[in-house]
């Protein structure tokens, strides 16, 4: 059916319309709901992005009344909102549409109760949000299906947001997708990867395809290699039980960082439309060279910080990777031979996520550097995702004074200072996208399966061996093997 253009549209002035709808959050008393979802929804209400009738229905096992749940969420939003004080007047209006249904997700009665609540609220459009432990996803989707909660009235929609992890390996990801598709169509399934909602990750596309000067350099002729780093200074912080089953490779690289890599390396889409952009991301993920079993030791490194096994809830003999690094190659004309080094770890020296594109050096060293040696330095383009969102370009400049001595300098663009006080949080962006039906920043089934395919040989190797863990000290940049991995290819990590 052809979309009828709204003759009153004014895209320069109006935000995208969030239609009248309700969101049903499973796991509504959990950490994610308290820290991210409710603060994001409250902020959207604060910014007048939500319709007045927008309703939230929370579910968890804990028995409590609507008012008790409202009070809990009030305290959570107050604690976790990053934008200053809570507006109590606004909260009252917001909380009036905040409801709670207690119940076990294994109990069919829960879904009948939810259906009754949704009907009582009177919203035809409903977004279901799975914010529970992943092991409950399938039973919840089944429950929604059996109770016909997923059946939307004519002209309305029912959508599902699924938090990562989407499976724990390729096989389980396929199983989960099959279970979801028994109830929801793929176009109604929104797999959230909050990294893709970050302004700076979205800005990668703007930088690459909105400017004329970068894209001509964005290929194997000029790019020497790419480093993607997601470092955390903290440990597992009470999530030891979950984390020891996941590990850095599954928790960060399989989803967030491969999606970031796809955004950095993908081809431009013909149009900026959801499936066109996602097609290109998926194509890139499918182009990543799959490691042969005998290559895994050469191109992937696992690490575990000293003290991890002493964390609460962690098996004292755990083989969990709290650090993972990999070297990936893309088998296409643009990137053939260019290594993408990806690493992520806990208890590293600082919290930083960035992408460094290192360009080839000038072919001839004409000038002396500060130490008097005649050498060149590579230019670096650094896309900073957190904590300071922005872009820096490192190049050489003449030192003041006589002679021609060069020194690296940085030209910085800082998101916060160029665009005012606030960027929307990733969850604000992604929740609005799901409500308006824009899946551009969500992960599609084929993308999930492609990224598991990339990771699978490493998982199989690591699952079938015994590491001599721990192998790195807290506060360092990970195990020495990671330095050796990159050094074999004549590069070194940016540890700054």
């Amino acid at each position: 059916m052809t979309e009828v253009r709204n003759p009153f549209a004014d895209p320069l002035r109006f935000e995208r319309r969030v239609p009248e709808c309700a969101i049903v959050i499973f796991g509504a008393a959990g950490d994610l709901a308290k820290r991210k979802l409710l603060p994001a929804l409250y902020r959207l209400a604060y910014d007048r992005r939500l319709p007045a009738s927008f309703a939230i229905v929370g579910n968890s096992r804990t028995a409590m009344s609507d008012d008790e749940y409202r009070q809990r969420m009030h305290d959570a939003v107050k604690q976790f909102s990053e934008d200053g004080e809570l507006d109590e007047e606004l909260w009252k209006r917001f909380a009036a549409n905040l409801h709670y249904v207690a119940g076990d997700v294994n109990d069919p009665q829960l879904y009948a109760a939810l259906k009754g609540k949704v009907n009582a609220i009177g919203q035809a459009n409903v977004l279901f949000y799975l914010s529970t432990q992943p092991s409950y996803y399938e039973v919840i989707v089944d429950g929604i299906g059996h109770s016909h909660l997923a059946a939307a009235p004519e002209g309305a929609w029912r959508r599902l947001i699924v938090e990562k992890p989407f499976g724990h390996d390729l096989e389980s990801a396929k199983e989960l997708n099959a279970r979801i598709h028994a109830v929801f169509r793929e176009e109604d399934t929104y797999r959230i990867d909050h990294y893709l909602g970050k302004e700076t990750v979205q800005n990668i596309l703007a930088l690459r395809f909105g400017n004329g000067i970068f894209e001509p350099l964005w290929n194997r002729r000029y790019v020497n290699h790419v480093q993607i780093t997601a470092a955390e200074s903290i440990g597992v912080e009470g999530r030891g039980g979950y984390y020891q089953e996941a590990g850095a490779l599954r928790d960060m690289i399989q989803n967030h960082l491969l999606q970031v890599m796809a955004t950095v390396a993908m081809e431009p889409s013909a149009v900026f439309e959801p499936d066109a952009v996602r097609d290109e991301r998926a194509k890139l993920l499918r182009s990543i060279k799959i490691m042969r079993p005998e290559e895994v030791d050469q191109y992937a490194v696992a690490g575990q910080y000293k003290g991890f096994r002493q964390e609460p809830g962690v098996n004292p003999d755990a083989q969990t990777d709290t650090y993972a690094a990999g070297t990936f190659f893309v088998d296409n004309w643009r990137w053939a031979g260019v290594p993408f080094f990806i690493r992520s770890g806990k208890r590293l020296p600082k919290r930083v996520t960035d992408i460094a594109i290192q360009f080839n050096q000038a072919p001839l060293a004409l000038f002396r550097s500060g130490d008097g040696e005649q050498k060149t330095r590579p230019n670096l383009l650094i896309l900073r995702i957190q904590p300071e969102e922005g872009i820096s370009l490192l190049f050489l400049s003449k030192e003041p004074g006589s002679g021609m001595r060069l020194r690296p300098v940085s030209m910085d663009f800082n998101y916060g200072t160029s665009f005012g006080e606030r960027s929307p949080s990733a969850y604000e962006t992604l929740l609005v996208d799901a409500m308006v039906g824009d899946p551009t920043l969500y992960t599609r089934q084929d993308m999930v399966e492609a990224s598991w395919t990339v990771i699978q040989p490493i998982l199989e190797n690591w699952n079938n061996r015994r590491f001599d863990f721990p192998n790195y000290e807290s506060g360092t940049w990970g195990p020495a093997e990671a330095d050796a991995m990159i050094a074999k290819l004549g590069r070194q990590w940016r540890n700054s």
Binding site: P7, D10, R13, F14
Partner: protein
């Protein structure tokens, strides 16, 4: 800082450099300062008191639109009398570093604005847009004659007015149309003021509460003794969006401003009416709900306008209709 004869753009720019150097030293131990600038914002204030208000507004605007602000206000007659520089700083939530924008305040007789225009050429930030904000309504009533601000118009990439308080809407609109016809990109904060109303109306068509071809007529009702530019804009906007519908203006009760908009189909009416608590109430065609209007403070309206530095085709169509 200086007198008429002493004011030189080069000197002002040098003073700004010194100001930044000094601020960097003063704030070195507390996170430092960052000089931010995305445009030159020239504000023609009505008088000295207005210039003071503008200073405060600029302090708010710079959070989203860091700029070099040049505030002009009339004082005495003839030539430029005085100029002084200032910086507006703020500290983002949870950050140590202050973000600062710079400003220049120039006192000049309105007849001296042609001299000011010459000063502004070197004072504007190279390669960044120049926005001129003309305060007050007098300029909108100047008819076809070139007013005192005329020399400044040529410097600006966008000129912002506010017709909210004009008594003669048609004269104000004619003035804006003439300026637009001369190739100047103009904006009117009274149009900006309508964004909330327009958004509510547009969403009715997003939601399929109405289909464009169903609407046979529309009535825009305004309060106060005479039609406002806002009512004219809204009627023109509806007319351009729904060329098949008969659009009329009606005077209603209440203070000046927009009171309601009604869209009529063959069998029903849908009304968006100003309600209490800064809301509009939508009723008819099976709908009944309230919708909050966005903030209409001067700062909020200017934030919106400064976010649109290129063509604004919807406004331009409404202005010319």
């Amino acid at each position: 800082m200086g007198t008429a004869s002493a004011i030189q753009p080069e000197r002002i720019l040098k003073d700004l450099q010194q100001l930044w150097a000094q601020m960097a030293v003063d704030q070195a131990d507390s996170g430092g300062v960052l000089r931010a600038c995305a445009m030159t914002l020239v504000v023609a204030a009505e008088d000295a008191a207005d210039a003071e208000r503008v200073r405060q507004t600029v302090g708010v605007l710079m959070h989203n639109h860091p700029s070099r602000a040049v505030i002009l206000h009339p004082g005495g007659s003839g030539s430029v009398l005085d100029a002084r520089i200032f910086a507006e700083c703020w500290k983002p939530f949870g950050k140590a570093q202050q973000i600062c924008s710079e400003g220049i305040e120039i006192t000049a007789g309105q007849s001296g604005y042609s001299e000011v225009a010459k000063f502004l050429v070197p004072l504007r930030v190279p390669d960044l847009p120049v926005v001129l904000w003309c305060r007050g309504t007098q300029v909108l009533m100047s008819g076809a004659e070139p007013g005192p601000l005329e020399p400044l118009f040529a410097l600006a990439d966008k000129i912002i007015f506010n017709s909210f308080h004009v008594a003669d809407a048609d004269s104000a609109l004619q003035f804006l149309r003439r300026l637009r016809a001369r190739g100047r990109r103009v904006a009117d904060l009274h149009w900006t003021h309508l964004t909330g109303w327009r958004e509510v109306l547009a969403h009715l068509f997003d939601d399929r509460a109405l289909r464009p071809e169903e609407v046979k007529g529309s009535q825009v009702t305004f309060g106060g003794p005479s039609v406002t530019t806002g009512a004219r804009y809204l009627a023109a906007w509806i007319r351009t969006a729904l060329p098949g519908a008969r659009v009329s203006l009606a005077s209603g009760d209440g203070p000046p401003g927009l009171r309601s908009v009604t869209l009529s189909t063959a069998s029903d009416h849908l009304t968006i009416a100003l309600g209490s608590d800064h809301c509009v109430e939508v009723s008819g065609c099976g709908r009944h709900y309230r919708s909050l209007l966005p903030l209409a403070s001067e700062e909020a309206l200017m934030q919106e306008e400064l976010g649109i530095l290129g063509p604004d085709p919807v406004y331009e169509r409404a202005l010319s209709a």
